[in-house]
């Protein structure tokens, strides 16, 4: 499946625009958290005393909206779901981390995002919580030699529920919608029971609005379900679309201008790669799981693969979740143009001369000063870093 979205992964824009977009989406995030009441610790903790379940309602409405939206847009072929980042699972660190986060939540009255919103609302408890979070993350770093073993334990890799259950995003989204509506109704029932017992008013609700919203979510979830099944009547294992190509010229420019923004991977056999490859290129692992190798490359970079002339891109390369491009013409095209000394004909035209100047400069950059400049940072180190970091939070 190959949609236009996600825009960034499809190369529609680059780093500076991404940062500007981050601020705008963050404004939306912060505004919605504030409107949801998440700037106030007293409202947040009411969840855990069952008298006002705003946390449950806001969180699960958000999860359902996003999950159903992704499933729907993915099913329609607009969003390439294979390009959406899926975190790895670390079972026990996440169980313990989650419990401790819940403990910190009821003790401080905030979670990290809401502490930020509380701070700018003027609530000093939020600001103090933020300071605590900073201190706590430093404590984690100080204690890292002690906790590293546990932190890296029970690494289960990609554990994606639709794959584990052999189903589609649409079915999962519909199931989560049913679960959420069940939780909402149960939550409201508990709120009413508790209020009646205490002889107070339950949290204000608007049943008409609520029912309309539930109906809207239900219709969207049903549409996502239908779309996912319609999509399934197509061949079960569709031929993957050919990779977008990058020319040797464009690749050379990117390697010079943004060397840390991409990984170049040599698909030829490791021996040939070890002997001669593009500057900074990674060779395939001589042994081990090729799919794992690609899945572990950080999705935030662009990966450019190349092989010998006519060599097919292995299916495992599709495990890479970020932007994947193939070098047009393979190794030979780049080698012929930038890794062999260009010759300038005496009768060359002005444009041929300009081309030679560029090739000569890049030739010197990629080969002549190789000992001093290339290869860039050893990419292996970067990979372990990215995996270690994990989540987007």
């Amino acid at each position: 499946m190959n949609g236009l979205f996600p825009l960034y992964q499809k190369g529609v824009f680059e780093y500076p625009a991404a940062m500007a977009i981050a601020v705008f989406l963050g404004i939306g995030f912060g505004f919605m958290l504030e409107r949801g009441g998440f700037g106030r610790a007293t409202i947040l903790v009411s969840q855990f005393y069952n008298d006002d379940m705003r946390v449950l309602k806001v969180m699960f409405s958000a999860i359902v909206t996003s999950a159903v939206g992704l499933a729907l847009l993915g099913g329609l072929g607009w969003v390439d779901l294979s390009a959406i980042m899926i975190f790895d699972t670390f079972l026990w660190p996440q169980v313990v981390g989650g419990i401790l986060l819940g403990v910190g939540f009821i003790v401080s009255g905030h979670c990290p995002g809401t502490a930020a919103v509380a701070s700018v609302s003027g609530n000093m408890d939020g600001l103090v919580t933020l300071v605590g979070i900073m201190a706590g993350s430093l404590v984690f770093g100080f204690a890292y030699p002690l906790v590293e073993g546990f932190y890296e334990s029970s690494a289960m890799g990609r554990q994606h529920l639709p794959e584990l259950l052999g189903t589609s995003w649409g079915v999962m989204a519909a199931a989560v919608t049913v679960l959420a509506v069940g939780l909402f109704l149960a939550g409201e029932w508990v709120e009413r029971k508790l209020a009646a017992r205490k002889g107070v008013e339950p949290p204000k609700s608007d049943p008409v609005l609520r029912n309309k919203l539930f109906a809207g979510l239900g219709v969207a979830a049903a549409a996502a379900l239908v779309v996912s099944f319609v999509g399934r009547t197509a061949p079960v294992t569709p031929e993957p679309a050919p990779l977008a190509l990058v020319s040797a010229d464009d690749l050379a420019d990117r390697m010079v201008q943004d060397p840390t923004g991409l990984f170049v991977v040599d698909l030829r056999d490791p021996g040939a790669c070890a002997a001669r490859r593009l500057p900074g290129a990674l060779c395939l692992p001589a042994e081990g799981d090729l799919g794992r190798f690609f899945a572990d490359l950080p999705a935030t970079r662009t990966v450019v693969v190349y092989g010998a002339a006519g060599q097919a891109v292995p299916a495992e390369a599709r495990r890479f979740t970020g932007r994947l491009l193939a070098l047009d013409g393979g190794f030979a095209a780049f080698h012929g143009r930038y890794l062999t000394r260009p010759v300038l004909n005496a009768a060359a035209s002005a444009s041929e001369r300009a081309d030679w100047t560029k090739r000569n400069a890049l030739y010197a950059h990629f080969t002549g000063s190789a000992a001093a400049k290339a290869p860039p940072a050893p990419p292996r180190k970067v990979i372990t870093r990215a995996v270690k970091k994990g989540g987007g939070c």
């Binding site: 958290l33 009441g37 999950a67 169980v95 009821i106 401080s108 103090v128 919203l213």
Partner: protein, 175 residues
Amino acid sequence: MSTHTAPVERPLWNPYVAGIGLGLVLLATFVIMGFGLGASSAVTRTAVAGLHAVAPTYAETNSYFSQYFGDAHILEDWMVFEVLGVLLGGLLGAYSGGRLKFDVQKGPRISVRGRLGWALAGGVIMGFAARLGRGCTSGQALTGGSTFVLGSWIFMIAVFVGGYALAPLMRRQWR
């Protein structure tokens, strides 16, 4: 020219409306960027930058902090800018909703000093927990939850378990 007055306090939104609004922001993030929202990593990064200003050599050689130096990763930078946005959006929301004022949110039976002490302690626990669990309620529960990641759902359930388990002991602070 009339003098400026801050908006009067207005009620919060219906929680389902706010949740759907939040979900649409999250969905837009996936559709535009291919990844979701976060909060704690930007806070950690700020703390590490502070540490680096005081003890640069230690920060760069510590095996956990060292990952914050060297090549930049767009995801980590993105989260910092996003949290800057969260601060602006929260301010905008609090101001326009008439909820922008200096205050300490607490139950009736605890002193301000006591409440701030618990806020600090809870923050420290959460800062540690978010690093151990590789995220917080934003990155794991919302983002990982809506992309059906097994570990994120486990994390989310664990957050509720932890919160509910300790809530009776924290009653004095809140009720």
